[in-house]
């Protein structure tokens, strides 16, 4: 732990604290990322995209401790037939995981993938590096350089069931860096489920290459641990007529920064990104989304809903960039917060940057309290104030949850949300 001696430069302190030995096929991508990281340095509050979120706890060399949450619920997605891949504090748990084999796909671990994975070479650090412009994302470069593990999934045929990455947080000082790459060959479909808090502090990158007419479905729930911190990035590149759908549920967590950086490079592609979060007290949640339209007739949707109380803070920075040749773009963005008291805060920065002339782009952002008329209506039917508030809270979040296409998953998420809201009051 020489990190302490190098206090003067936080970037070097972080690199030292997480040093890994580079070898094999990912070596050059990691070296390149390290170089880029050193050049840009870790974020600080002077950076435009870190104005609303203090990066300190994500950039200090050692993770702040985070108490472990005693979860007594059955695991999310537990009833589903899925391929389980378990990481405990960022360390792969072979015993708890299924065999990493599923017809139609190959799965390898980043830590043990020795052979020269040609496909992964074209993804690992490539999408991330591409996503560094025009907005720098140093924590993602850090991840590419120093990730200790992750999964590399190549989908050559549509698998029979979803892949479920399960993250468990068992140590109050764990500081995990995981990097996943997924490549969908043309015409394939895959669903990626992620759940759990991963570590006291978690830095995660997913790079997804969605081939022509392929479809990527992503649903994640970031656990219920109150004190954990997370900085996550998803980088996606979408081919012709492909689909990318991602939904994130965040309940609790003292610090979350979720970045999604997508580029629609093939005509007629669709990207839907949605998130629902519920924060109470010490809670800071930041969704930063950047969608670039670089092809004709593509559609993108961003739907983010935040329920905040007792001083919780929500941040939304969403951008749609429509390049000059991306005619017939249909872009939509909505970010809304429900503030349950006057101590809570929602900070939103919606951005549209459009160079094509034949596009439809709309965006909206609102903050509001519980609708008093609706509350009275429910109470006048005999529903207690607490239950009525929960119903209206769910009603508010539903628009984001509705973005989940699979009916069973949608219902499971809504059911969990209902339970959590009720427990919060008891």
């Amino acid at each position: 732990m020489t990190a302490l001696a190098e206090k003067t430069d936080p970037t070097e302190a972080m690199i030292t604290a997480h040093s890994v030995t580079f070898s094999g096929w990912s070596k050059s991508a990691r070296e390149d990322a390290l170089m880029r990281l050193r050049k840009m340095g870790l974020p600080d509050r002077r950076d435009e995209y870190w104005k609303y979120t203090r990066p300190d706890s994500l950039t200090q060399a050692t993770a702040p401790t985070a108490a472990i949450f005693q979860n007594d619920e059955p695991p999310l997605f537990g009833e589903m037939d899925r391929l389980k891949i378990v990481f405990v504090d960022g360390v792969f748990d072979a015993a708890a995981s299924d065999d990493l084999a599923l017809e139609g796909i190959t799965i390898e671990r980043l830590a043990t993938a020795q052979s020269d994975l040609h496909w992964a070479r074209d993804v690992y650090g490539v999408l991330e590096s591409h996503g560094q412009s025009p907005v720098a994302r140093p924590l993602a470069a850090l991840n590419t350089a120093l990730a200790t593990d992750g999964v590399l999934i190549h989908v050559s045929r549509t698998p029979s069931k979803p892949i479920n990455l399960i993250y468990t947080h068992n140590s109050d000082t764990s500081d995990a860096i995981l990097h996943h790459c997924i490549k969908l060959d043309p015409g394939t479909e895959v669903t990626l489920l992620e759940n759990g808090p991963a570590a006291a502090r978690f830095n995660k990158v997913i790079e997804v290459e969605v081939g022509n007419t392929a479809s990527f479905n992503h649903i994640r729930a970031q656990g219920r641990d109150h004190e954990r911190r997370a900085a996550t990035h998803i980088f996606g590149r979408l081919g012709t007529e492909s689909e990318f759908k991602s939904f994130t549920l965040t309940v609790n967590g003292v610090m979350t920064r979720n970045e999604v950086v997508l580029e629609l490079t093939g005509d007629d592609a669709k990207a839907h990104v949605a998130g629902a979060c519920v924060g109470d007290g010490e809670f800071h949640h930041d969704d930063t989304v950047f969608i670039t339209h670089d092809a004709v007739n593509c559609e993108s949707r961003q739907v983010f809903k935040k329920v905040l109380r007792n001083g919780a803070v929500g941040v939304f920075q969403g951008k749609i960039l429509v390049k000059a040749d991306a005619q017939k773009t249909d872009g939509y963005q909505i970010s809304q917060s429900l503030l349950l008291d006057e101590d809570s805060q929602f900070l939103a920065k919606p951005e549209l940057e459009i160079y094509a002339d034949d596009v439809i782009c709309s965006h909206g952002s609102t903050s509001g309290a519980i609708d008093e008329d609706a509350l009275f209506y429910l109470r006048a039917r005999g529903i207690s104030k607490g239950d009525a508030t929960d119903l209206l809270t769910l009603s508010f979040l539903a628009e984001a949850v509705e973005e989940i296409e699979a009916e069973t998953l949608k219902e499971e998420i809504l059911e969990r949300l209902t339970g959590w809201l009720a427990r919060r009051r008891s």
């Binding site: 009275f376 209506y377 109470r379 039917r381 005999g382 239950d387 119903l391 769910l394 628009e399």
Partner: protein
């Protein structure tokens, strides 16, 4: 059943007196109608009875079967048997009509210390009652009042009333925004619920509704008071001559 004595009400945040001594007694099995010009305080009366925020009772009492209504939370009044059919039913996106109905029914049962209804039992009952009001499965599944026409919203109010089986029903301009057919349907729904143990207070502008829901007593309200009471013929008088004559007569 419902007993209102010298009820005086002002707005919370303005010095404006709306009700200026309302006296009203409705017995079980009776249907009373309140008519009156705009701004006379009819809707305020229904809100104050059901417990909406924003009003201050400065004098008087209101009891339901001897229990003080004014001290209770809105949900407690509902559980005690008071029901208000809203003039403008609220749209609630994301909450299924069925979920809402079941939550309401079970909340009241629980508050009264009775056993909650199972999902299967509830479904059976709600389907039968919905059918009578021509409310189809789709309307039950959709979010509360979302995309409902004016008539559908009012029928949905009556369905809630039928499911909750209140002792005292207040209908606040339930006829507003209804065409003749929809009004008949709503009136049939109300009439089906008329019984010895249940009182009704029907607030309306028009005599038309009272052709379908025959009142025992008609009250005329003006400037925060009930200025005249009588039989059904009073409603006809209003219909034919307007309020001016009556108001002049009592002035």
């Amino acid at each position: 059943m419902l007993n209102i004595k010298n009820l005086n009400v002002k707005l919370d945040d303005e010095d404006k007196q709306i009700l200026k001594g309302v006296d009203l007694e409705i017995k079980g099995g009776e249907v009373h109608a309140i008519m009156g010009p705009n701004g006379s305080g009819k809707s305020t009366l229904s809100y104050v009875l059901s417990g909406k925020d924003g009003y201050e009772v400065t004098e008087g009492t209101a009891t339901l079967e001897g229990i003080d209504l004014l001290e209770m939370e809105p949900e407690e009044r509902a559980a005690a048997g008071l029901f208000l059919a809203f003039q403008y039913p609220v749209e609630i996106p994301g909450v299924g009509n069925m979920t809402f109905l079941r939550t309401a029914v079970n909340s009241q049962l629980k508050a009264r210390g009775e056993e909650e209804m199972s999902a299967a039992e509830f479904l059976k009952v709600v389907r039968a009652k919905a059918k009578a009001l021509k409310i189809d499965a789709d309307m039950l599944k959709r979010p509360v009042n979302m995309g409902f026409s004016g008539g559908e919203k009012k029928r949905n109010e009556i369905l809630q009333m039928a499911m909750l089986e209140p002792k005292m029903c207040i209908l606040d301009e339930t006829d507003s925004g209804l065409d003749v057919d929809a009004m008949k349907l709503v009136a049939e729904g109300v009439n089906a619920l008329r019984s010895e143990g249940r009182g009704f207070l029907v607030i309306t502008h028009y005599q038309r509704l009272l052709d379908h829901i025959k009142p025992d007593v008609v009250h005329i309200m003006a400037d925060g008071r009930i200025v005249k009471s009588g039989g059904p013929e009073l409603a006809l008088e209003v219909e034919n001559n307007g309020y001016a004559d009556i108001l002049a007569e009592v002035a």
